[in-house]
Symmetry: C2
Subunit: 283 residues, 2 copies
């Protein structure tokens, strides 16, 4: 059996009891470590499980999944995913591959940012499609997500923005020379995401994410050090959210009064927040 | 401390280790039992926790929350929610009330249908807003959700439809006579939801959920008896999905090829499914 086990968002104790039982009964355990991170590392998990854990990087999962799935029709193998197993496309691939090999698969669900984001005070059913914001480079500054935000914006829906993670990336030079030297991991901050959004708004000028549009910056949702700050994009540029992972919610104009009441507890500046809410949002 | 603990979607073992610790250390434990259900009842939970559990019905949570929160500034109280704590508006109210009373609140997240629905094979970021479908009565057949589906449909996004639950409802006669006699619980089936959607399509005629529109019926997601069937609405009218809870996903036209590949494994009729996918969906 292949167990695909969601670990939730915080530390080693956010696994479910059923998930922990699957892990403890598994012959091999892999940890997917490139789409998200916990607040604890592999060593802590190994200590907690009393078992070895193998880090599965992108290359292994995408190009060498047969190693993960080897004899999983006979023994139990656990593939651990931060958040919920169906949060990233890449895990779906693994399940499809297992199916092709007639390996039984059991998915053990857990919280992911896709539902835990409710902690920011907005109702999940008022969110439109989710977008991902990638790190801009000197030469690559893609803005296709702006169109998605615009679609949500048109109907007054909130937008959850997932922020880029770069783990085990090579510099162009090292890649060219075939040197397996990796850059330190990078996690996009709320500040960086907001700067990029404002840059694109400047360019496109369709009024979708203006300096005075309201948003909610979220850091380490579901952990003990969770930080949530609501404010205008301009205000959020300079707020220190601390360590990763960060995410950002763009508030839709259809915000309900009760949502606003909850969110204002997180306001960077309650007065500004209330004024803008009354002017542009809750009607 | 008020712990608001998500129980996940399956049985007693879908609680997280952190959640279980909070429950075991709590002086009082309430189970919210009107927005969703587990596959096990209160007795099984009591046995598993080694503690008494009090059922909190809608009246208690909405009108008598101070009983739940009593002295939670001094002792630990757990409020258990099937799925994730932020899945329903009513739990947000409780958190706001606790804040007003200066009671510290800790939310322990878990899977909810809002993210576990990824099990159907569609990617979560391609979903638009979520809708709820309520039971029609002879005189009340609301169709406002049709407009929401239409909004999602316009951008080719998928729609998760949450289906109505009626627990502890009184008949009009019993209510009028002040008799505290309750009707047996009712859980909307995929079949009923589809029938209602087709009735509204018939009336509105905007081509949003036609008899040959593709959808995915889901039952008991995240449990061992999970059932997923994809097909046209017409096909899903007669599929037996078994016991509650059910939910329904209306597939958006922007469906990606990889999503289609995953979903077709669940097809009621693979041939029909593939034909319609090619004609109206993946481009």
């Amino acid at each position: 059996m292949l167990y695909v086990v969601g670990l939730g968002l915080g530390d080693e104790k956010d696994i479910t009891v059923a998930g922990l039982e699957a892990v403890k009964g598994s012959e091999r355990i892999y940890l997917e470590a490139y789409t998200s991170i916990l607040t604890v590392g592999k060593e802590k998990l190994e200590e907690y499980y009393g078992k070895d854990v193998v880090i599965a990087d992108r290359e292994m999962v995408e190009s060498d999944s047969d190693t993960i799935l080897a004899n999983a029709d006979k023994v139990d193998v656990s593939f651990l995913v931060v958040g919920d197993p169906y949060g990233a496309t890449t895990h779906t691939d693994l399940v499809i591959r297992a199916r092709e090999m007639n390996i039984p698969v059991k998915v053990i669900h857990n919280a992911s940012i896709m539902n835990a984001i409710g902690a920011c005070g907005l109702q999940l059913y008022n969110f439109g499609q989710t977008i991902s914001i990638v790190f801009f480079t000197e030469t690559w500054r893609p803005d296709s997500f702006y169109d998605r935000v615009k679609e949500n914006h048109q109907f007054g829906l909130h937008t959850l923005c997932l922020l880029d993670i770069k783990v085990k990336e090579q510099s162009i030079e090292n890649m060219a020379r075939g040197r397996l030297i990796y850059e330190p991991p990078r996690y996009m901050t709320v500040n960086q995401a907001v700067e990029q959004l404002l840059e694109i708004e400047e360019k496109r000028g369709e009024g979708i994410c203006k300096p005075d549009s309201l948003a909610i910056g979220c850091a380490r949702i579901g952990t003990d050090t969770q930080k949530i700050v609501a404010g205008t994009l301009e205000e959020l540029v300079d707020v220190d959210f601390g360590g990763p992972l960060h995410s950002l919610v763009l508030i839709g104009s259809r915000m309900h009064e009760m949502e606003a009441e909850f969110v204002k507890e997180y306001a960077f500046n309650a007065e500004t927040f209330n004024t803008i809410v009354k002017r542009d949002y809750v009607h």
